[in-house]
């Protein structure tokens, strides 16, 4: 413990101040002489007063450590003088020992009542006097120790409050900088104390879609909440770059495993809402069930239980590919909460419980479920103070929630002119080829986006570029190499089947490749980027998809039509396994 100089001097254990100073108050000169001589021999420094008035004055001037006080004195008696002296002493403990010839009970108890600590009856016995002095010293030492400890505590407490205040500000600023209030997301974050051990993060994806995470760190208070900062950084940075939920889960786990002590971990549930609002990816490690509430009926349609270890426990996330895929309809709601909600207790000690939560949800239209849960919780817990952080999130699956994320405009990037030595039309070229088994495990789209971020004039265009790259790449991988048929996703059974087959084929993939090529043909201000993706598949005939504005709502078809709109041109080459898109922009 590190105290400053001023703090240290206040808390320093005092060496017993020798000689100890005694004030003797008596109107009888003989008594004064006797006591002075006696106490002097015992090693004390003696000062005197002849009556109550003088006593108070001398006390103020000399600040003695112990006072012997006669009772019957002219001008002011010992009782009154003691009252005043005790008031003057304040927090300092100065024992007052009465010297009295009176022996009746009333007189003696009065001594203690006015604030005196002991009494000596006349005639004095030397042995008794000495004993009382020793006892007095012991009590003085005890008082002194208690006072010093109190002072230390006061100092430490003040320091701690100041540190907490600063930490709170840092947190609020850091976390606020990253998240915005999202339309369509209701949230209730109720920490049990100053720092919240629960964490809510939400961010829109570059091409549209939503990532949301509700987490619960072990313990609470600052020791738990402090891990929110690195986790938030990873979540937001990766989402902005277009990484998927899988990759984010792996990275957060790595970060926590590496940084935090073994007994700190993060229970979390993460959700990725697709921009089409037709499906969600969910990962739940250690949190209560994620609930899907049917928008039309208000009933809980699906519950996604925790199937993974919380983050930060295992060195690698086992089964990171095991995201659950859930079919959604517009208007559905996702409800997530931390165990603080379920375990919140009422004054009688009962827990709120899963039953009451589900009743509140299903007790009326889906749109008001959030409000009903809040009310039920408040009514139930009454005035009982919170034991644990309580968090509740309710997401409505509607277009506003999955709008494309805004890209931060980088005003600090210098305007570069890209010059190349290659012939005209080839200013900048970048390509990446992925073969199985890396193919399927590595997502090249965020990597490509990172390269493109270097090109001047493209800020504000990242959302569109991401959409183009992601669509074309996923077609190449899933339809080209894996030969999956998106039409499967149109039916309820087909939906699960599609993902099962997809996971199987990905796991079994031993051959196959996809190559991504980017070529900057013309620089800003009128930029032209050629995107070429080739896969090892058999190719396909895109004609039904390119012109499919309506017809069966095939996900792949809609994607290609969208790319066609965003680009100047879109052509399928070779046997249909190579696609070339030209994207133009003006800065």
């Amino acid at each position: 413990m590190d105290l400053s100089e001023s703090e240290r001097s206040r808390a320093r254990p005092e060496a017993p101040a020798l000689p100890v100073k005694v004030l003797v108050v008596d109107d009888d000169r003989v008594n004064l002489l006797f006591l002075r001589s006696l106490l002097g021999k015992m090693g004390y420094t003696v000062v005197e007063a002849r009556d109550g008035v003088e006593a108070v004055q001398v006390f103020g001037d000399e600040r003695p450590d112990i006072v012997f006080m006669d009772v019957m004195m002219p001008r002011m008696n010992g009782y009154e003088a003691t009252r005043r002296i005790k008031a003057l002493a304040g927090e300092r403990f100065v024992p007052v020992i009465f010297l009295t010839a009176l022996t009746d009970d009333a007189a003696l108890t009065e001594c203690i009542e006015v604030g005196g600590d002991d009494f000596l009856t006349k005639p004095f016995r030397q042995a008794i006097l000495k004993s009382k002095l020793v006892a007095s010293e012991r009590i003085r030492a005890l008082y002194g120790r208690v006072q010093r400890q109190n002072e230390e505590l006061r100092v430490l407490h003040a320091r701690r409050s100041r540190d907490d205040e600063i930490a709170q500000r840092v947190f609020a600023d850091a976390l606020a900088a990253n998240s915005g209030v999202l339309a369509g997301v209701n949230s209730l974050m109720q920490p049990a104390a100053a720092f919240n051990g629960d964490l809510l993060l939400a961010a829109n994806r570059p091409g549209g879609g939503l990532h949301l995470m509700l987490g619960d760190f072990t313990g609470h208070g600052l020791a738990a909440a402090i891990w929110a900062l690195p986790v938030s950084e990873v979540f937001h940075a990766m989402t902005a770059k277009g990484f998927g939920l899988n990759d984010i889960v792996v990275q957060i786990n790595r970060k926590l495993f590496g940084l935090s002590p073994k007994d700190i971990f993060l229970s979390a549930c993460l959700v990725a809402l697709d921009r089409s609002l037709r499906e969600a990816e969910i990962w739940n490690g250690g949190m209560p069930d994620v609930l899907i509430v049917d928008g039309a009926t208000g009933r809980i349609r699906t519950r996604l239980a925790s199937h993974h270890l919380p983050l930060g426990i295992a060195s690698e996330v086992p089964g990171a590919e095991c995201l659950e895929h859930i079919a959604l309809t517009r208007g559905d709601r996702l409800v997530m909460y931390s165990d603080g909600l379920i375990e919140a207790r009422n004054p009688e000690g009962e827990e709120f419980g899963d039953g009451r939560l589900c009743a509140a949800i299903e007790n009326g239209p889906a749109n008001d479920a959030f409000a009903r849960i809040r009310e039920a919780l408040e009514t139930f817990t009454g005035r009982r103070p919170q034991d644990d952080d309580v968090s509740l999130v309710d997401i409505l699956c509607e277009p506003a929630v999955v709008a494309a994320g805004e890209q931060p405009t980088d005003r600090t990037a210098p305007q570069q002119v890209v010059k190349g030595s290659a012939g005209a039309g080839q200013l900048w070229r970048w390509s990446l080829e992925l073969h199985a088994p890396a193919l399927g495990n590595v997502d090249p789209v965020p990597i490509a986006m990172h390269q493109l971020a270097e090109l001047p004039g493209l800020s504000g265009r990242q959302s569109e570029l991401y959409t183009v790259l992601a669509e074309l790449y996923s077609n190449a991988l899933y339809h080209g190499v894996l030969r999956l048929d998106s039409a499967l996703k149109n039916s309820a059974e087909g939906f699960d089947l599609y993902y099962r087959v997809r996971d199987e084929r990905l796991a079994a993939l031993s051959a196959g490749w996809v190559r991504l090529e980017l070529e900057l043909v013309e620089p800003a201000p009128r930029g032209r980027l050629r995107i070429r993706i080739v896969d090892s598949g058999e190719g396909f005939d895109p004609t039904p998809y390119i012109n499919a504005a309506h017809g069966p709502a095939v996900l792949a078809g809609r994607g290609i039509a969208l790319v066609r709109q965003l680009c100047e041109s879109l052509d399928y080459k070779a046997r249909g396994n190579a696609v070339e898109a030209v994207y133009v922009w003006s800065a």
Partner: protein, 100 residues
Amino acid sequence: MTVTSTVSPDHKRVDITITGRFDFSLHKDFRETYRHHPGVGEYRVNLGGAEYIDSSALGMLLLLRDHAESGHGHVVLAGPTPGVRKVLAIANFDKLFRIE
């Protein structure tokens, strides 16, 4: 809320018994039960009397597991009540511990 422990005579097993609330207040005592016994084969944590377990307790179990594994031992969580068993299940601790 208490922690008690016994060591088998052949030093191959440590039995740790928790009663009451298993939470952060047991931190020091819990650690004391195993700290001075490296190389024990089995650490058996008897949870029958533990009426409540929170996330700090889960963290303490992780530390015990770490200690056990560094000495080539293992941890068994014995006789958890239904409530405690549920908490262990949600945290998927059955992937890390043998639960009996």
